[in-house]
Structures are given as C-alpha cells and as structure tokens.
Subunit: 324 residues, 2 copies
Amino acid sequence: MVENAIASLEDDVNLNAGYGSNLTLNGMVECDAAIMEGISSDFGSVGAVSGIKNPIRLARSLLEYSRIPDTLGRIPPLLLVSEGALSFAALHAPHVQTVPPERLISWRAEAEWKKWKDQIEYSHPTDSPGGGSGPGEMQDTVGAVSWHPEKGMAAGVSSGGILLKYPGRVGEAAVFGAGCWVHQSTEAGMGIACSVSGVGEYITRAALARTIGENFASHMSEGIDFSPHDILHKVIMDNFWQPSVRRGILQLDVGVLLLASELDKDGNVKARLWCAFTTPSMAIAYASSKNPKPKAVILRRPTGIPVPIRNNNSSQIFITAISL
Amino acid sequence: MVENAIASLEDDVNLNAGYGSNLTLNGMVECDAAIMEGISSDFGSVGAVSGIKNPIRLARSLLEYSRIPDTLGRIPPLLLVSEGALSFAALHAPHVQTVPPERLISWRAEAEWKKWKDQIEYSHPTDSPGGGSGPGEMQDTVGAVSWHPEKGMAAGVSSGGILLKYPGRVGEAAVFGAGCWVHQSTEAGMGIACSVSGVGEYITRAALARTIGENFASHMSEGIDFSPHDILHKVIMDNFWQPSVRRGILQLDVGVLLLASELDKDGNVKARLWCAFTTPSMAIAYASSKNPKPKAVILRRPTGIPVPIRNNNSSQIFITAISL
C-alpha cells in the first residue's frame, strides 16, 4: 500500500519526488526513498538515484531482497546509492522501471533551476535570497503510512531533495530512522508508523521519525494515559526545532505524518492519524476500512496562529489528529 | 588529529579502509568515512567513493565546507556519495588526493575477492561458508578519537565495507550517528568521543556511536556516580546485540573506542579510553599530554573467557579502560 501510494505521488509532476523533482546543481534529478515494515522491522532505501521512474519501488525491492538468506553470510544492505543502486535494479529488480534520466525533468523544475542557477553565476552575493524565499523553500517531499490487518504497519518516504543540491547528496529520505519509522508492538493492536519530510539534514540529525516513534511506543507500552499531542510537540521541539535554532538555521520546515493505533479501555482498537507541521499548509489524504472512500484535505495553519517566526525559539508547530 | 590518524590507517594495506580495502562484488574499492567535531557538532561524511586516496580527508573537507554560509540559504550536505562526492572534491577540496581507482586494490584484497567470487559462481549453495568463516569476517575497519585542549573533541571512522558488497552500498562509517559521535558538554572538562566499527547494518540500526554517547552524556550530566563499564555493556547489549540476535544474525562483530573525560571530586579532569569488543582481539594505539609517546597494544579476550558463542543471547562483550 505504502509503495503504491508513494509511487502515485512520485508520478505527480507537482511534487518533489520522482518526476518533477527539484534539480541538482548540474541540472539532473537525483532521488532518495525509503520504506520500512513494522512486524519484521525490515528496511530498504536508495539514495541519489537517477533514471528510476519510482525510487520507492527500488527501495521496496531492497527490503524484499533483505529477506533472502545470503549463501555467503553477507548482511544485506540497508542503503544503496547512485550507479550501484541501478546495477542492483538491473540484477534483482527487473520490474522496477528505468527511464532516461532527463525524462524525470519537468518544465517547471527546469525553469526554477535556471532561475536560481543564474543567481549563483551572475549575481552579487548580496542579491541572493535570504531565508524564507530561497530555493530551499520548495520541498514538497512525499510520504505514506499504512496499516494492513495481516501485514501490519508500514511507512515510506520519497524525495527529490533540495533545489541545486550537490550531486551525490543523500538526504533524510534515504537514512535509516530519519524519514520513516515503524514500531509494532507484540501486543495486538498497538503500533505506530511515521513518515517525515522537511529540512533533510536536520531531520537526519534528529533521527526524527525514529525519535517520535520510540517516544510514542514507550508511552504506549507503559499503559498510562498520555497526550499524543504533547509528546509530538515536545519531541519535535527538543530534537529538531531547538537544535536547529542553536545552529542558526533559518529554514525549519517539517511535516510529520503519524499513524498510531492503541487499545481503548474496552479493548477496542483505536487508530488515529496525527499531522504536525511548521509550514503554512500540509496536504494529506486518508482512507480506512470504516471510511473506505479516500478523502483529501489541505490542512492549513488556523487564522490567528501566525506562520512560524523564523529563528525563534518558541513553539511554532501546528498539530492535529484525525480518527480513522 | 583524527583526520591524520585515520589517513595513516587508510594508507596501511593491512586494514580495511582506503588502500587495501575489501573489494565490492565487481572488484573495486568503495569507501565510507565520517568525521564529527564536539564543540560545533559539525559533521561530514562520504559514502561509496572510489579513487580517493584518503576518504577521511574528503569527509573532513565536507565538515569544513558546512561552516561556510551558503549565499542561497541551502543547508550544506551531511553525506555525499559516489561520483557526486568526487565532483565536490574537484570543486571544493583540491588538496584531497585522487588516484586511479585500481591503485587502491591490494594484492591480498584481490586474492580474497577471487576466492569468494569463485564460490558464488561455481559452488553449489551448500558448499558456501556459514557464519564464522564467511567473507563478512574480514572487517578491520579503522577509527580514531581525540581531545585537543582548545579545539575540543573529535571522532572519525573509515571503512572499505564488507567483502563482495553490492556496489553503492553505504555502511555505518558514512551514516550520521552510527559510526562516530561526539558530545561535548558546555561544562568544562566533560565530554565523550566515540568511534565504532563492525557489522555495519546493525551498527546503523542501533545508531550505536550516538546511543553510547548520549547514554554516557546523560549519566555524566546527572552528576551521580555511575559505572561506565555497565553503561557500555548495557547499551551494546540492548541496542546492538539483542536486536541483531532477534533478527537471526550470526555475525555480531563490533569494536567500540570511547574517549570520556569528566571532573573528579577535586575538580581535576580525568580522561579514560574505553575499549569494548566482541571479536577475539582489538588493536589500539594511544598517547596523551602526560604520556606523549604513542603506545600500541593488541587487546585480547582474556584466556578463560571464550570467544562469543554466536547467536547466543548472553553477554559476550569484553570491556577494558585505559587512564590517559
């Protein structure tokens, strides 16, 4: 489910993943993607890959490959990058569609690239954009979380990275624990699946998806009532926002998608989708067995609550939950 | 200091880093390396790079580059891989020596590669080696930790990865938080620097250097007496050994180098070098201002304590400390 959902988003020209991704410094598309499964904790990711139509499908292939015992006892890789990932695809994932790398470049991405590339080459440094209007602002990275009655939970993430990034840059979407995380308890009905996008290097430093997941899991396993809202807020502040501010970072965009299931007092499974973001808006879609018709929503920061004041140490995170 | 120490080890043909590294499935050297600094928390790493004589120097260049404000507000990369890392070197690190990739292949590494490659191609699967004698056993990855009176602490790691790895595989030595970690307290004299090598994918899953470092740091900051030996043992067991055993992993090699400094009751700085390993031996060298002459030692599991019983859930970690 996660693989197919993310593949659809990768194919959308408006989103920064797969076709239509931001371009690197040398004008190419290079993608990162990762997928993780809850019951097995199996994981697969690819970094800085060009010419793969759906990077998430290659990450999934790596996850599946890791389940096959190796005759020489080698540990299967968590992360394959660049040409090596393409060689793996050719050998072990022939169903993963390759395309000429330039086919993933959209008209809009190329126009944006030219605009900022010119800034680098012809402008005085003082003409360059500051935080808030720079190329780093365009980060519509994609992610998905799911819960299947038999197969359990899964989470994934896919990104084209920041505009004008150095070729070979690997961001949070390929790093174990950073962009996606799943923890499924041995107790039936309890689990969390998390997908995170935003300022990649700081999400990696925070190991944000994992840190959120582990905090939720430890509170759930204690069996005491806790406020998921407060946990989410505290983890993002302590591990992502404040350390970034201390390092003088002006761009603190992050979006978190968190599926949490637990048993209520009567032993019924209660599942909620939590969304947390520091951006002006966050677009989501969801469906469940109770409400199988997919519903798409653009969550917006409520009027009256200002867009985050950059470089401010106070809380600027908007959090909401949807019962599924 | 860390950069130069690791560069020397990379140049040693007997160690699995730089020249003499294990070869990939297609017979090439591909290296991972990372370096982190305590006071700034700055970090730089490279993954799956070929044709760089000393990968640690390129990781250091990335760390230094991250300190330069970017005119477009782009966040500097934590990790660059493959060809992209080489392009970065050509542009921003001309002092980093490139060599024809085949120059990093040693006679011994090529012989080992041929031996196991033939096993894959000509043997029946049942002839292949099981855990304990497979190609994954040859993992003499290198690391270093240091403490400079003004510049503070630093840690680094460099590895050629596992023999016959897939090209493009990025291991713990390039992943933030996995292979090296430094935490320097704002309180004078307190800090830890950690470097870890071993089974890369499981060190990455455990974020082992960081998890060890954060546990030490939190105990130190509480100001209560604690047993570093017990902390080290517990963190390795809970985060690396047991999760790996649960996943059915037979090779649990790990080596940890940990420099910890704290104030004793009289306010004097006390620095110790902790070594923890599950392998039969671990080779280290150290020097300090009190004892400036470098001393090299091969630590061996004491007789009477057996080499770890693979796939056993009981403690098999040997830990020792050296006062500096």
